[in-house]
């Protein structure tokens, strides 16, 4: 093993020094690899940033890490997104999940919000602010007080929506909604505070007290829209989802089959077509609840993978071409080394190592540059162009460093560089030593 390592380290030395000897060529190709890696890492950081913003925004405004929602049907063709007698379900959740951080019940609604000058459709979260420990931590108030949301008839909205409706703290607004009973209802509310935007979701979502929501929809206090479950570790979501499904089924509840990437309001048609009446529960993840908004994130990921693939192909051609040149230039050296007793595998290793070194140095530089660029741009809080706001669900560019993603991307590029070098390296390894000998006769 020791002898093998010494031999390999000598091959590594030859490979590395050859790269240094042909510095211009190495710099050009290494620079190209670094450029592609920078792009991949930069776009990856943007994607991670968008995802982080979405998670924070979504888990504040619209969803828990897990949600126990469902539908209540009085008749077969008429459903309401309600969970009745939810306190019992809360008890089951608390007993079932070992890493539960906290849970809270929230009403859900979708209504027209009317100000003196404008109106718009908004998503409504009916909250009991005393049981929302996360909200004071993540919501930053622009004006007013978050605690005032405890007062019946209050409303908290975010700055972009407040600007659109031209309202500030203390102003009155009116909700107008068609209830589940099929009648129009209105409720007056007063702005208790305006919070800073947290991504695009906050531009069309508001908070009101649970009882005000119940009043708006004319439902009783034992019902809620969904129970939002927050875990200490988000990695446990799949496991905890299974635990909850088993526990609730065991307690006699009917739990709907999982439909990934579908938010509750996308299920109305299907539920209304079904014959059953009464209560069915539906367990969803935060990703399911904002799946309708994930296309922007998927777009960034798709774009980065597409660009990287195209550029990788160009680099692969570059690496192969460079190695062909190197092998042609060093034919005599290869023949000499074969003549003095180097095996074919060692020749192969020598050239593959050269590509690996180039790839590793290029990707390391690129990963560093991409991360640095992302960190700098993140601190500058560049505003997003209006067209991109909806696409990326954020009003400013946010970049997040994801070490696993950065390392993974850099490793894949290095691996690609190494793999494409196998073709010319095999050719070099197959070369007969006579090639060198014949040059000196």
């Amino acid at each position: 093993m020791k002898h093998w390592l010494e031999g390999v380290s000598q091959l590594f030395l030859i490979a590395f020094r050859n790269l240094l000897t042909h510095s211009r060529r190495s710099l050009l190709l290494g620079g190209a690899i670094a450029g592609v890696t920078t792009l991949l890492v930069f776009l990856g950081c943007l994607s991670s940033g968008v995802k982080a913003t979405m998670i924070e925004s979504a888990t504040t405004v619209a969803t828990g890490h897990l949600n126990i929602g469902g539908f209540y049907k009085v008749t077969a063709g008429q459903s309401a997104p309600l969970v009745t007698d939810y306190k019992k379900i809360e008890e089951i959740i608390a007993k079932t999940l070992p890493d539960l951080d906290y849970l809270t019940a929230r009403g859900r609604g979708w209504a027209r919000l009317v100000s003196a000058t404008d109106s718009t459709q908004v998503g409504i979260a009916g909250v009991d602010i005393a049981h929302e420990p996360r909200l004071p931590k993540v919501i930053k108030m622009e004006e007013g007080k978050l605690e005032d949301l405890a007062k019946p008839g209050s409303i908290l909205l975010f700055e972009s929506l407040a600007q659109k409706l031209k309202v500030k703290t203390g102003d009155s607004l009116v909700f107008s909604v068609l209830t589940d009973r099929g009648v129009n209802n209105t409720v007056d509310v007063r702005v208790c505070g305006v919070a800073k935007d947290m991504g695009m979701m906050t531009s069309f979502n508001v908070f009101i007290p649970q009882e005000t929501l119940n009043q708006l929809y004319q439902i009783n206090d034992s019902a809620t829209g969904a129970i939002l479950v927050y875990l200490k570790n988000m990695n446990h979501i799949p496991r905890d989802m299974d635990l909850l499904r088993k526990a609730l089924t065991g307690a006699g509840y009917t739990v709907m089959d999982r439909e990934a990437d579908k938010v509750f309001w996308q299920k109305f048609d299907e539920v209304n077509r079904e014959e059953w009446t009464g209560q069915k529960l539906d367990i969803t993840t935060w990703e399911d609840e904002i799946s309708w908004a994930m296309w922007g994130l998927k777009g960034v990921d798709g774009l980065s993978y597409l660009l990287t693939t195209i550029l990788l192909v160009i680099i692969a051609v570059g690496i192969m071409n460079t190695l062909w040149i190197a092998i042609r230039e060093r034919t005599r050296e290869i023949g000499t080394l074969r003549a003095i007793g180097m095996r074919r595998r060692a020749v192969l290793t020598m050239f593959v190592m050269e590509a690996f070194c180039l790839g590793a140095m290029g990707t390391a530089t690129g990963a560093l540059l991409g991360s640095l660029l992302a960190v700098i741009l993140d601190t500058l809080h560049f505003p997003m162009p209006p067209g991109a706001e909806m696409f990326l669900m954020s009003t400013t560019f946010h970049f997040a460093l994801d070490p696993i993603r950065i390392l993974g991307g850099a490793s894949i590029i290095t691996l690609c560089c190494t793999l494409v070098s196998l073709i010319p390296s095999f050719k070099a390894a197959r070369m007969r030593p006579i090639t060198a000998m014949s040059r000196v006769g």
Partner: protein
Amino acid sequence: MPQHAEKTAIVSIQKVVKEYHLDKVVVPALRGVSLTVRQGDFLSIVGPSGSGKTTLLNLIGCVDTATRGTVMVDGQDTKGLNDRQLTDLRLHTLGFIFQSFNLVPVLSVFQNVEFPLLLQRKFTAAERAQRVDELLKKVGLDKHTQHRPSELSGGQRQRVAIARALVTRPKIVLADEPTANLDSVTGENIIDLMKEMNEEEKTTFIFSTHDAKVMSHANSVIRLADGKIAAGKAAAGRH
């Protein structure tokens, strides 16, 4: 030769024919050469360009195979060996000295000489260093161990090549026109050095040359012409 008869045959070539194919034309390089080289010989192969000197060395050096006939090196018929066995034979039994030195340009003098020992994977770092240092001292390059080949003169580079060829203590060293790229004084010094190694280590040297001065150092001379031995093995003048 009575003194040769007592020595063991290290290379035995019987009726060797080597033909090269250039498109549809067959070019004969060797036409039925038979030759025996004994251990400890200091043999010179001479002849004009195209006479087959390099081809003969290539066959003995196991870097090429004969079209017909038998090439035995250290008791092994090279025709029956696969690539790995031929590589091992070259690594453990043969040493090569090239006209253009053929050193690895990115390695130092020490690393170039040490390289075949690393390929052998038999010696510790200390053993390798001891052997390399000894040889570099013998060839007068112990002050240049860390230099790169490009920092040395032609004569010094060929000395490195000699040290590299001898570092594994091979039974045979093949040198293809080792003095062709050197001035006459340096060339003669190189041949003297090879001769010294031949006498000290009892290593068999087979080298090709055009140079009459160089061939005068050889114990035996083989003259090739048109792929055949033109004149038999003969003792050379000086020894």
